[in-house]
Symmetry: C2
Amino acid sequence: MLTLETSSQRDWTPILQEFDAILGESGVIRRKEELLVYECDGLTSYKQRPAVVVLPRTTEQVAQVIRVCDRHQVPFVARGAGTGLSGGALPVEDCVLIVTARMNQILDIDLENQRVVVQPGVINNWVTQAVSGAGFYYAPDPSSQIICSIGGNVAENSGGVHCLKYGVTVNHVLGLKVVTATGEIVDLGSKIPEMPGYDLTGIFVGSEGTLGIATEITLRILKAPETIRVLLADFSSVEAAGQTVSDIISAGIIPGGMEMMDNFSINAVEDVVGTNCYPRDAEAILLIELDGSEVEVDTNTQRVEALCRQNGARNITAASDPQERLTLWKGRKAAFAAMGRISPDYYVQDGVIPRTKLQYVLQEIEALSQKHGYRVANVFHAGDGNLHPLILYNNAIPGELEKVEDLGGDILKLCVKVGGSISGEHGIGADKRCYMPEMFSAADLETMQYVRQVFNPKGLANPGKIFPTPKTCGEAARAIAPSAFPTLERF
Amino acid sequence: MLTLETSSQRDWTPILQEFDAILGESGVIRRKEELLVYECDGLTSYKQRPAVVVLPRTTEQVAQVIRVCDRHQVPFVARGAGTGLSGGALPVEDCVLIVTARMNQILDIDLENQRVVVQPGVINNWVTQAVSGAGFYYAPDPSSQIICSIGGNVAENSGGVHCLKYGVTVNHVLGLKVVTATGEIVDLGSKIPEMPGYDLTGIFVGSEGTLGIATEITLRILKAPETIRVLLADFSSVEAAGQTVSDIISAGIIPGGMEMMDNFSINAVEDVVGTNCYPRDAEAILLIELDGSEVEVDTNTQRVEALCRQNGARNITAASDPQERLTLWKGRKAAFAAMGRISPDYYVQDGVIPRTKLQYVLQEIEALSQKHGYRVANVFHAGDGNLHPLILYNNAIPGELEKVEDLGGDILKLCVKVGGSISGEHGIGADKRCYMPEMFSAADLETMQYVRQVFNPKGLANPGKIFPTPKTCGEAARAIAPSAFPTLERF
């Protein structure tokens, strides 16, 4: 457990008085024991207690809180549901944590134009629940969709199983009301898809709280498909499963989702969940979800089945009934939890590779796994080359986490080497910032830093996230416009 | 014709010597009569001769040219094929025009990952030609696709008929090599779809040359659909055609394209082109293109035909054969040219409205047409609410253009009033900048201006475009961070 030291020299009394005046005392959490729950997000290996937590309900309250932070030069971090896996909502030393839990209102449902406007604390799944009766749904579906917030999805540009066909969060956010780090309220985008001027909505989505806080989010909702069918195919080699994925995409079929699990993951899931659907002797399984009109799904089912068999699939199970589909998905959805049952701890990595490099990368991951001496289970969004290697270890043994992080880092470097990315859908946050120079030149990162300054001139909004800092990442980070960002050094 | 006066006080001799050294004499155009062709783009109502035209072939040459401009404080404007309709490539007084015509190489074709890397001067249609043999195509298809350049498409975030289903240029550009206004070479994005950090690719697409020049563009190509079918349906009222559009989308069908033409346009087209397909007595026709697998297209054809008939369509003609499809499209593709034959001049407007407001807006446009005393023909991308009203007038009569621009402006204000936009796919350029405050608050525009400063700190890259300036747009423009952008005033 890496605990960051706190050494507050600040007199918080006047600041807390201002917060109380804005939010009422019940909107300000200051007692140490109550602050404990906020000291990390889904990346539990880092902890840092915030100085104070505030719970605004409105855009205006967020703006007022941020103006207080600006005036007192206090860094602040936004937090939605705290399910993020890269430490994007990890507090920084001596900071104000702005929690959006009370900003949980669906503000507008416009079915005719297929738009829903929400506050950032609205849970992802609520959006679909609110419109499913009318035959619509919200497409981006992180595994955590029943607990994660739309604000957090916007911050991390979250993906999910269905993003292969429908795109990640940025493709479904049309407009944002944003409070910048100086407390200014700005509207980016709108309800219509293409706005003139610069696409600031696109830049804000995925900016991990470093440009300010989104307080109203306009989402696109989609018409629910007429038919959904899930196919489960098992293969005697990972290569054959990988080739099937390539063949399906090459045939011009874009499944709603296309997931792969390796033998180790299959057995872990069957040990823990017991789906009795996933054959324990398969080297890999594919879960392929086809959606669309009934004839389209029928035709694509036949074509996909043929491609699976052509690559040596032994059995193919299909399910159209919602309950049966759920059964097929059950093991995949429980895969992370299953690792937690068979190993004391696990570390989820998130990287992207060109789909065509899948076989090579899986072989290399196996080699790295053996070299570092840790078991790696592979569960991933195969269709878009988004890997989630799960590294199993025991955190109770001192020094293990650091070694596991080294292995995770080697996997990221491998992804970059083959033309991929160090993050698919979990963001960079606190966890991966030191790997940013693997992907971006100093000039590229410097350009991003200057854009950051537009919204966040003093560096008070979520400092130390996304970008490497000399303190944490060593000398290499010094190249990145250090003079322009003195506040970046504080974390 | 609005001619902007040129009053160069600058000694160009040393600058031209530097350009000659970088590009060779054949790469530098300086003779007045040769410069004439470059004094406007597709928006022919504004003209301004550049001081010099340069024709680089490489990223490095573009960077060297821009560094010369930066050192001598000379504004520069990028120009692709010059087909833009908002004056985005209109030279500014005493500027260097950087023409990308010689940057016409397709640098890489990666069919396996469905990516093509091009220089900016590559013509839109060449991309599809280069990959169609392998069964792929490039989706964004402006009407000018056989002559417009990818660089210009990136600058204006161009759309086209098929953008209803497949999205505009920004959805198909994954990476950019960019020369900023200070001559720095930066890579934005890459071949993979979602990169960590800020989405600077998204911000650059549609920035109309105000952030620098893209010198390498990584495009996504799509698998060509198995079947394409075009339906032509005719209606006895515009309302019925509009309702059909809404009904098709509400049914969850997304056609490849869905275009509407009104009675006036139909007759103009038949007078000039004589397709003999478009019924002259129809109040409106819809051209609906369905694509996908054969069964999917068959099913959707039946559903669309039923919806057309339900709204009173008289005749529905379907064509799957490429030659027959071309015949049905011929009139639509020739619509703008037809206006040029029946009227001395026409002014194309480009606005967006929520699809649900279609009937109301068309009625209001008719009322505005009568009030201002100019005939307006309506040809538009009905599926995404992107209107192209064509205002017919005679530019030989002094003062007519200004009156027509007033009518065009009233149409834009109408679009904004119903929740739409002042530009769908032609950009803001020089033409519509004064209408930006109709859509954006001073704070919104100021935020964009600061982002502009990141790439273009001295305002040398395409000054006076997109953003309103006090000189042209009056006092209202002064609110937008005037002190930060002194160079904005020069045009």
